[in-house]
């Protein structure tokens, strides 16, 4: 088993999703190669080489890989796969991995196994379907398994203790039919949603985007990331990258505080693996209470300020 992990990074540091992906790779076998495709991503390659159980870091360096398109990521991966003896190609199930991995699978003429949460054997995987309302165990007979990993399914690997060799690979010529021309990243001092220890999320019950300021104050008190239900995103209260759920982000923090969220199955799909769930809602019958460890029925506009005061006392 030789496993190729596609690292997600920003040319300065590895994204935490990569650490969870390597954890999944460890369950597949022990010959793990990590591909760092980027531009000037020297520090990323060194960081990847320090992860225990990584045998080799492959570094592809080119200007056009600074903010790579799926087309160019796939081209690098396909070249590496063609020159090696890989049994698995593994990427995080993030917007980066979801964008590129199916291109790689199609070019290799193999199925992709999306969003796995468990590994039974090197060819048998568990993945959620129907927004996590069922789990399918699937077996692949393809010669190479292309996989995306749901990061909440695997604990992150440690970042020190390894000593892998770093090898340069030539980057293929740029594919120019697609170009990244801009980025508007949400700037936040808060922890990142998918890796935060505490997440505070708001739903339709917040009634306006302005009212999310209340949640920001609570998040500040708890050192939490802020999330939202699809209903809050659809209503225009917050941007889409706040969305937790089937079609948004999947989170599993130590503490998840759902405020004014009724608990549609699409939302539960994104947060029900959280360790402790608190629900605050004025509707005592809201489905969110069925999965909450601590449910508090009442008006969120009274409860949240009181909660902030109590937490600060």
């Amino acid at each position: 088993m030789t496993i190729l992990v596609i690292a997600e990074h920003d040319n300065a540091a590895l994204k935490s999703a990569t650490l969870h992906t390597i954890a999944a790779a460890q369950k597949l076998g022990n010959d793990i190669h990590v591909l760092v495709a980027g531009s000037g991503a020297e520090a990323v390659a060194i960081a990847a080489a320090a992860i225990p159980d990584v045998a080799k870091v492959l570094r592809a360096n080119a200007q056009h890989l600074a903010q790579p398109t799926a087309e160019n990521v796939a081209a690098v991966v396909l070249q590496v796969v063609a020159s090696g003896n890989y049994t698995h190609v593994v990427a995080p199930a993030t917007s980066f991995g979801k964008n590129a991995a199916p291109r790689i699978a199609a070019k290799l003429d193999v199925a992709q196994i999306s969003d796995i949460t468990g590994i039974e054997s090197p060819d048998t995987f568990v993945r959620p379907i129907y927004a996590g309302n069922a789990f399918a165990t699937v077996q692949s007979s393809d010669r190479i398994k292309v996989i995306t990993v749901r990061t909440t399914g695997f604990d992150a690997v440690p970042v020190t203790g390894g000593n892998a060799v770093i090898e340069d690979v030539a980057a293929p010529a740029e594919i120019t039919s697609a170009k990244v021309t801009g980025q508007e990243l949400t700037k936040s001092e808060r922890p990142e949603l998918t890796s935060a220890r505490v997440v505070v999320s708001g739903g339709r019950g917040m009634a306006s985007g302005e009212n999310f300021k209340l949640l920001e104050a609570l998040a500040d008190t708890l050192h939490a990331a802020i999330g939202a239900s699809r209903a809050a995103v659809d209503a225009g209260y917050v941007p889409n990258d706040y969305q937790v759920g089937q079609t948004g982000k999947i989170v599993a923090p130590d503490l998840y505080v759902a405020v004014g969220i009724s608990g549609a199955i699409q939302h539960l799909a994104g947060m029900k693996d959280s360790k402790v769930i608190v629900a605050i809602n004025k509707d005592a019958e809201a489905p969110i209470f069925q999965i909450a460890d601590y449910g508090l029925v009442g008006d969120l506009f009274e409860i949240i300020p009181a909660l902030i005061a109590e937490l600060s006392s």
């Binding site: 193999v110 399918a136 699937v138 990244v180 990243l185 601590y294 937490l311």
Partner: protein, 250 residues
């Protein structure tokens, strides 16, 4: 410019699915089926491009059982001009669908293929990217805004950290995210008109595509039940419990 909109018939968004007693799938007998919501957004975007004069013809395509005809009629009622059904009773996985769509694209030569980013049944999020790869076309996935001019598409994409803008040369594949648009409802006159629009039926064999599944489902299980339902009376009790019982506050 011709636009192809691939659509999938799925268990309706509002149905709570149940695992079949034989543990080999979920129960889809006698449950409401609808167009995949992300594909509705794709149909709507194509119709808006036609209303703007950017597109000249919209072809809706579905792959699957005979009943997909109903879903195609919905697309026709929403504004597609004609429909193609690739009919088969074989379970279709994303790679097979992408290959069927490639065959259709090669026949139809569209300038754009626009489809949902994922289907809400298998949650695979693969078909659009696979189709783009098979055609060697550029892709713009998870679109929240699409502008078409000078034989290229400028697409705002929903990414984990916010938004990214990509420019793709046409022909290209675009997959839709939630905020791209709000799909319209089909009106009764349009539903009546849709019945008269052309719907062609093909087969995988006629297209020369092998659709045999590559992944074998060994079993399907219910998720572990979460033990919830605990209540607290007030904020004081909540904070005390988080501190002393759950020990999640630092």
């Amino acid at each position: 410019m011709k636009i192809i909109v691939p659509i999938k018939r799925v268990v309706d968004y509002n149905v709570k699915v149940r695992v079949r007693p034989d543990g080999m799938g979920v129960d889809t007998a006698n449950v409401k089926m609808s167009m995949n919501p992300f594909d509705e957004i794709a149909v709507e975007e194509a119709v808006r491009l036609k209303e703007k004069g950017t597109a000249t013809e919209i072809v809706a395509v579905s792959c699957g059982v005979a009943a997909c005809q109903e879903t195609l009629r919905t697309a026709l009622a929403l504004g597609a001009d004609r429909a193609v059904l690739v009919q088969t009773d074989t379970e279709l996985q994303p790679l097979a669908v992408a290959k069927l769509l490639r065959a259709i694209v090669e026949k139809e030569s569209p300038g754009l293929v626009i489809l949902g980013k994922q289907a809400i049944d298998d949650d695979a999020n693969q078909t659009g990217q696979m189709l783009a790869a098979l055609l060697d076309w550029p892709q713009a996935t998870f679109a929240s805004k699409v502008d078409i001019a000078d034989s290229k598409a400028t697409v705002k994409r929903e990414v984990d950290g916010g938004l990214e803008t990509v420019e793709v040369a046409l022909p290209a594949v675009i997959t839709t995210d939630l905020r791209l648009n709000e799909p319209r409802y089909a009106t009764l006159p349009n539903i009546m008109k849709a019945k008269k629009k052309p719907l062609e039926t093909l087969t995988p064999e006629a297209l020369g595509v092998d659709v045999a599944p590559r992944l074998k489902t060994l079993r399907v299980t219910e998720p572990a039940k979460r033990k919830g339902g605990g209540r607290v009376a007030d904020v004081k009790e909540l904070v005390a419990k988080l501190r002393n019982e759950a020990k999640v506050l630092r």
